[in-house]
């Protein structure tokens, strides 16, 4: 598996996002899971990702050994067991889940941090503010140029770009090197913005998909969107479902802490796409039927303050807790406390979080408008807008232990069948098809 036309292992130039421990959402989780699994298949990966200003790494340096950050947290290179993966970073303020609207704020925040670090002598070097183009679109183009420069020193057979901000880089690298391009659609502008589509973003996405030799989508839900909204030829679009990284903590009985109060969890970015207001409206209805329930919204996002306000407006403020963004152990802890996980997404290309919930023995309710509902049978499903039904199902899960038990045991079993290994295999076979065709 995974051999190129010269009989060697396939080499991939992968334009991705985020690696542990700094993962802010599903996109990073997917890049990480997929790359790890490819490594195990023997696929050679040059993994290119943007690094924000405060990072001490510079471009064009092969990071072959782990280094420690100033705060002692070991960095990406802690992934020593990845024998076939080489990481390269490009200094850029691009971040997963950035959008043209919040981009300026984020850049300013990064620059401010950087300036502080220099002033306090915590890091050496000059302030390279001039490296960063003024707006996000120019930065994306600049990132593409940098990627091309970086690619010149590399040997690879195929270019694989994850989500829209790296598509121009993918297109440029493929054009310069003549290698086939795969773009991997983890989400589209329609998922993120509903019908208020940003035309520039849409154009970038569309150009990426058009110029690609193969488009991978994370679900049939997204595939049909790519075909109908972007006009991409169906035969060019293939579905590769995400997997889930098993934590191996199959802790039977760990959830048996006796509490009078039930806990219903929303975990994800609090943005329009994730449907936080439907969660709150459902919570309101649930509280009409039963009292001993708390609702936890774990995550941050541009709708967080509006959600806090909405909870207060609905008169359920004392029943809804906002934790802010959680990571690592805190995520594990909140899962252990939760009786139920709800994902009321308005438009969810895949949705890895429900798989993680099931992996942690938490039953899930997922929106029918999600890719993950194509692969999960042992989950409760609702239309995101149907808050009545959502509440009905929440109450049932909280009220009837046999329902929880059955969902949990079947769901946990089902999740174990969704492996990154299979996703990586599918990607590798797509590469092979492209290499044969060339």
């Amino acid at each position: 598996m995974g051999l190129n036309d010269e009989g060697g292992h396939i080499r991939v130039f992968m334009l991705g996002w985020e690696f542990p421990p700094f993962i802010s959402g599903g996109l990073g989780t997917a890049c990480y899971g997929l790359t790890r699994a490819m490594d195990q298949l023997g696929v050679k990966v040059t993994f290119v990702l943007p690094k924000t200003v405060e990072s001490e790494y510079v471009t064009h340096v092969k990071l072959l050994s782990p280094r420690s950050r100033r705060d002692g947290v070991s960095h990406v290179m802690a992934e020593e067991d990845l024998t076939n993966v080489i990481f390269k970073t490009i200094a850029s303020p691009l971040q997963a889940y950035a959008n043209p609207e919040n981009y300026d704020e984020r850049v300013e925040e990064s620059l401010r941090l950087r300036r502080e670090m220099i002033e306090q002598g915590k890091t050496e070097g000059d302030f390279h503010g001039s490296d960063y183009s003024g707006d996000m679109y120019s930065e994306i183009r600049r990132y593409a140029t940098m990627a091309v420069r970086l690619a010149r020193d590399e040997q690879f057979d195929v270019v694989h770009a994850h989500d829209w901000m790296t598509y121009p880089a993918g297109v440029a690298v493929a054009a310069v090197t003549g290698k086939p391009l795969v773009v991997h659609v983890h989400s589209t502008e329609f998922d993120r913005s509903g019908e208020h589509v940003n035309q520039v973003v849409y154009d970038i996405e569309r150009e990426g998909m058009e110029r690609a030799d193969k488009v991978i989508t994370v679900s049939h839900f997204t595939r049909s969107l790519v075909i109908s909204r972007y006009g991409i030829a169906p035969e060019k679009v293939e579905v590769v479902y995400n997997g889930v990284e098993r934590n191996g903590t199959w802790s039977v009985g760990s959830t048996s802490i006796k509490r009078d109060e039930k806990l219903v969890l929303f975990l994800g970015r609090i943005t329009m796409q994730k449907g936080p207001e439907y969660f709150l409206h459902a919570a309101k209805k649930v509280l009409e039927a039963m009292d001993n329930v708390k609702f936890v919204m774990a995550g941050s996002g541009d709708l967080m303050y509006r959600s806090i306000e909405l909870a207060a407006q609905l008169g359920i403020g004392q029943k809804v807790l906002f934790t802010g963004f959680l990571r690592g152990d805190d995520v594990r802890k909140i899962y252990q406390m939760a009786d139920l996980y709800v994902m009321p997404s308005v438009s969810e290309p895949f949705g890895i979080a429900p798989l993680e919930a099931l992996d942690n023995d938490v039953p899930v309710i997922i929106s029918k408008q999600s890719g993950v509902s194509e692969v999960l049978h042992h989950a409760l499903k609702v239309d995101f807008w149907d808050v009545n039904e959502m509440a009905n199902k929440i109450v049932a899960v909280l009220r009837y232990p046999p329902l929880r038990m059955t969902l949990r045991s079947h769901g946990n079993f089902e999740v174990r069948k969704l492996r990154w290994k299979d996703a990586a295999r599918q990607c590798a076979s797509i590469y092979e098809q492209l290499l044969v065709a060339v």
Partner: protein, 417 residues
């Protein structure tokens, strides 16, 4: 010999409507959907099949015979939605060539949970059949052919039956053939008729399967197989869902043509004949004893109860249902009792089955719900509401001393529904 004994199971569940925890009325059933399905199946199966079988009985002048088990819950729906089907069943009853079998009125699993309720339902069913068709059933079949020694003992003790029908499962028969009558262990009088599942399923399941080596199945080919039993069996019991004719096997598979020619092909052999279950019981002796300690059924390949009671949701739902029995009966309200009994229809639990759910198989075809979880939630919401209705009337000896202003002048309600 051998005799061919046809028995058709005729049943339609009464499906629940979408009932959430926020609903608070007594309309539990989806009248619209039930009517639509009843009429659809009537047009595709019950009416054409009844007419065909009537014609065949007429044509063969008493030599072609069949039997039915009609559930009470089906008869109620036919009365409401397709009375013309009832009249054709009535016409069939008039021929004298049709036997009607006994079962639980509500197609329930009551034998497993309440013997008293079970006996009441069997009596109610027998009364209904006698009222509608003028004959009192003499042969009993339990829901989904669920059976063990104890069932046979109870049926014998009821004193009004000559035989019980069940699945001719391999693991109860061993090397023995289903083509004889047997005596249930512990019984003195009643006999056991066993389904020949191989020949029955050739018609019920494999008939239209183009990958089956025997496809297409013709009446003459099937008759050859029946003839082959000659000499080593008394009876070939062909038991199947009536919906096989036209609904499970659509008309364009040729199933009606097959049935049209089957009697004459079977009767072509001079030793063959058709008998109803009671005639079979009268004609042949039990050749041995069959000992069934564990419950069997005719479902799936497991032939056990896992399709209804295989997961925690199913057993929880059914336990909660039967736990209400005393409360329901004490409430002494016809409507409450009927609603409770309608919830006993085994299909409700079948919908909750998680076995094979992810594979999308036969279970899905009959399931009005998107998932077993949805069906459990719906059922429990209804059950919860029903439970709240059966508040036992309490007689208050002393009038309420001070009715509130709102209640002034009106009788004080002590019964809350």
């Amino acid at each position: 010999m051998p005799s061919v004994c046809f028995y058709f199971q005729v049943h339609q569940p009464m499906r629940l409507r979408h009932y959430t925890v926020f609903d608070n009325d007594q309309r539990y059933f989806d009248d619209h959907k039930n009517a639509a399905i009843c009429r659809k199946v009537a047009n595709k199966c019950y009416l054409p099949a009844n007419r065909l079988l009537l014609k065949l009985i007429d044509k063969h002048q008493g030599r072609f015979k069949i039997s039915y088990s009609l559930t009470g819950i089906l008869l109620e729906q036919l009365q409401m939605y397709s009375p013309e089907v009832l009249s054709t069943f009535h016409a069939l009853a008039q021929t004298g060539c049709v036997e009607f079998l006994a079962e639980t009125y509500y197609h329930s699993l009551s034998f497993l949970y309440s013997r008293q309720e079970f006996v009441e339902q069997v009596r109610k069913h027998a009364d209904t059949i006698e009222y509608l068709f003028g004959q009192r059933p003499k042969v009993f079949r339990n829901t989904e052919l669920i059976y063990n020694n104890e069932l046979a003992l109870l049926i014998e003790a009821m004193g009004c039956f000559d035989a019980v029908i069940t699945e001719g499962a391999d693991h109860i028969l061993g090397y023995r053939s289903p083509n004889f009558l047997y005596r249930p262990t512990g019984c003195k009088h009643i006999k056991l008729l066993l389904k020949n599942y191989s020949l029955s399923d050739d018609i019920a399941f494999r008939f239209s399967n183009r990958h089956w080596v025997e496809w297409p199945l013709t009446a003459s080919k099937f008759s050859q197989w029946v003839n082959a039993v000659n000499g080593n069996g008394n009876v070939v019991n062909l038991f199947m869902d009536y919906e096989t004719l036209g609904e499970h096997q659509w008309e364009d598979t040729g199933i009606f043509d097959f049935m049209r020619h089957l009697p004459e092909e079977i009767l072509r052999h001079p030793d063959n004949n058709f008998k109803t279950p009671s005639e079979v019981v009268a004609a042949y002796d039990a050749v041995g004893e069959v000992d069934v300690r564990h419950m069997i059924s005719w479902a799936d390949t497991e032939r056990d109860l896992s399709a209804w009671l295989g997961n925690p949701m199913q057993s929880n739902a059914i336990h909660e249902l039967y736990r209400l029995e005393k409360k329901i009966k004490r409430a002494n309200d016809e409507q409450i009792l009927s609603d409770w009994r309608r919830l006993q229809v085994s299909d409700h639990f079948y919908y909750m089955c998680t076995k094979y759910f992810a594979d999308g198989d036969v279970h899905k075809y009959f399931n009005p719900y998107d998932s077993p979880y949805d069906s459990y939630i719906n059922f429990m919401n209804v059950l919860d509401h029903l439970q709240r209705r059966c508040v036992v009337p309490t007689i208050q000896a002393v009038p309420h001393p001070s009715p509130g202003p709102a209640a002034a002048g009106t009788p004080i309600a002590t019964v809350t529904n």
